[in-house]
């Protein structure tokens, strides 16, 4: 490179950089600092990994997750609808997903099945499957199932809105939570506004046929405004409460509101 063509300020600049660099290397304190700056990226990664197991950090993360529950409760608009898709967009086969393999899905005997009710519900008499099938206002909905694991698929679920059932059995609709217990040991709970959302269904059918074992027979709570893990399958008990009930994944660290 021909130095004569380089403007003076750049020459000076080069000299300044060299002077600065040599100065940095002479002074041990500055040299240490410079080294630290160089490894700043590496350091932040290392500290991030180190502090992730630290209890106080976990407390902060849990607190933030509960804060996010509150924010999502505030953002939630009961009039916002999950998009409805054409039947041609339904994924076939629809993906099976649970905390066990498909062969382990619980086999529920529909002839002896009873849905139990507990908590802040006036009429706690159990419901048989034929009684449930006779519930009014049943609809079928083609919606997107969004999984927290980073995939989504479109399916069609049918049944009565959960709100119809909750009103019929005299659930205290001023309570904060609706909880579910399942035949596979899964348990989950949702906020009352989401439970009363018109798209939240007791899904007795999948693609207009009785919901098969692997998708949640005898029924699944289908909530298109929430992530997949908030949609319990094989429901055997519904309860209404003001005491935070948690959930299978929620108790391990997934966000409780899990809304979309």
């Amino acid at each position: 490179m021909d130095d004569r063509k380089i403007p003076d300020d750049i020459k000076k600049d080069r000299e300044a950089i060299l002077r600065e660099a040599s100065g940095l290397l002479k002074d041990p304190a500055k040299r240490r600092l410079f080294g630290n700056i160089l490894t700043l990226g590496g350091l932040s990664i290392a500290t991030g990994i180190l502090i992730k197991d630290h209890n106080s950090v976990q407390t902060i993360l849990n607190t933030m997750s509960r804060f996010n529950d509150g924010v999502q409760g505030t953002i939630f608009n009961p009039n916002s609808r999950s998009p409805i898709y054409p039947k041609s967009m339904i994924n076939n086969p629809f993906r099976f997903n649970a905390f066990y393999q498909v062969a382990q899905a619980p086999v529920v005997d529909g002839s002896t099945y009873k849905l139990m009710l507990s908590g802040q519900i006036r009429d706690k008499r159990p419901w048989t499957l034929p009684q449930l099938y006779a519930l009014p206002d049943q609809i079928s909905q083609v919606t997107r199932h969004i999984c927290v694991e980073g995939w989504s698929e479109i399916g069609e679920w049918g049944g009565p809105p959960l709100s119809v059932f909750l009103k019929m059995v005299g659930a205290d609709l001023t309570c904060k939570y609706v909880g579910f217990k399942c035949a596979d040991g899964y348990y989950e709970s949702i906020d009352m506004p989401s439970a009363l959302h018109p798209q939240t269904l007791m899904a007795f059918t999948f693609r207009e046929h009785t919901i098969p074992t692997y998708y949640g027979y005898p029924f699944k709570i289908r909530i298109p405004t929430k992530l997949g893990y908030k949609n319990p399958k094989h429901v055997t008990e519904i309860f209404v409460t003001n005491d935070f009930p948690g959930g299978y994944w929620v108790d391990q660290g997934y966000n409780w509101f899990g809304g979309s």
């Binding site: 490179m1 380089i6 403007p7 300020d9 750049i10 000076k12 600049d13 300044a16 950089i17 600065e20 660099a21 940095l24 410079f34 700056i37 160089l38 990226g41 932040s44 990664i45 991030g48 990994i49 992730k52 197991d53 902060i60 993360l61 849990n62 933030m64 997750s65 996010n68 999502q72 953002i75 939630f76 608009n77 916002s80 609808r81 999950s82 998009p83 997107r144 969004i146 927290v148 694991e149 980073g150 995939w151 989504s152 298109p224 405004t225 994944w249 391990q252 660290g253 997934y254 966000n255 809304g259 979309s260």
Partner: protein, 225 residues
């Protein structure tokens, strides 16, 4: 460092402004943003690994030599498992967004943004890019950004906006229907979010390399001069 900070606050504001390359609020926000972005990216990588929808592996050095691991190898990620990654991601997002909103407000109020980043046009970018590649670019006054720098910083800011919008579409596709609309539907948001992340990583690599080549810019971003 303590004496420097004390000297800073002890100086009258006007004199301090003339003396420092970057005002204190900007330096603070730069490092808060850097922290938030690093946390978001590392936890985002852990979340990505739950499905690895682009089906790639990454190399990691172990005692058995180089091993290719599913998705972004665990040692590069933050959170330990999907739930942990999600907790970090959805905590750090408040840091990122709060800082960005404050930055936007202060930039407008102090009228710093326009003179610092604009105007920037294709001609000046090409001119400065050629100069940069030839090593002819002046760093005499690091207060003034050259056209390539301006473009890079504006790009990083716009890219973070894209990340936030596509993030909103992924997080709340029903409540934030506007975000879902802007990303052409739910599934495209995933690809937009990933691509914008990759581009931000590319920016960070270039940014850090350039800063290391001109170390006084690092000093200026820490102490102000």
């Amino acid at each position: 460092m303590t004496t420097d900070t004390l000297a800073d606050t002890g100086t009258p504001a006007a004199a301090d402004d003339r003396a420092s390359v970057h005002p204190l609020w900007l330096r603070l926000m730069h490092w808060v943003n850097a922290t938030a972005v690093v946390l978001m990216i590392l936890s985002g990588w852990r979340i990505y690994d739950a499905t690895n929808f682009l089906h790639f592996n990454t190399p990691v050095l172990t005692s058995h030599g180089i091993v290719w691991q599913w998705g972004i190898a665990a040692p590069y990620t933050l959170g330990g498992w999907l739930g942990g990654g999600l907790q970090w991601h959805f905590a750090a997002m408040w840091l990122l967004v709060t800082n960005a909103v404050l930055y936007a407000i202060i930039s407008v109020v102090t009228r710093r943004f326009v003179p610092q980043f604009l105007p920037v046009g294709p001609k000046s970018i090409v001119r400065d890019l050629i100069a940069a590649l030839k090593g002819h670019l002046s760093h005499a006054d690091i207060r003034h950004y050259n056209a390539v720098q301006k473009t890079a910083y504006l790009f990083a800011m716009a890219d973070i906006v894209v990340l936030v919008i596509s993030g909103c579409a992924l997080w709340k596709s029903v409540q934030f229907a506007w975000a879902r609309f802007l990303t052409f539907g739910y599934e495209p948001a995933r690809y937009i979010h990933f691509t914008a992340m990759a581009l931000l990583c590319a920016f960070i690599v270039v940014h850090v390399v350039m800063a290391l080549l001109v170390p006084k810019t690092i000093k200026a971003m820490i102490w102000g001069r």
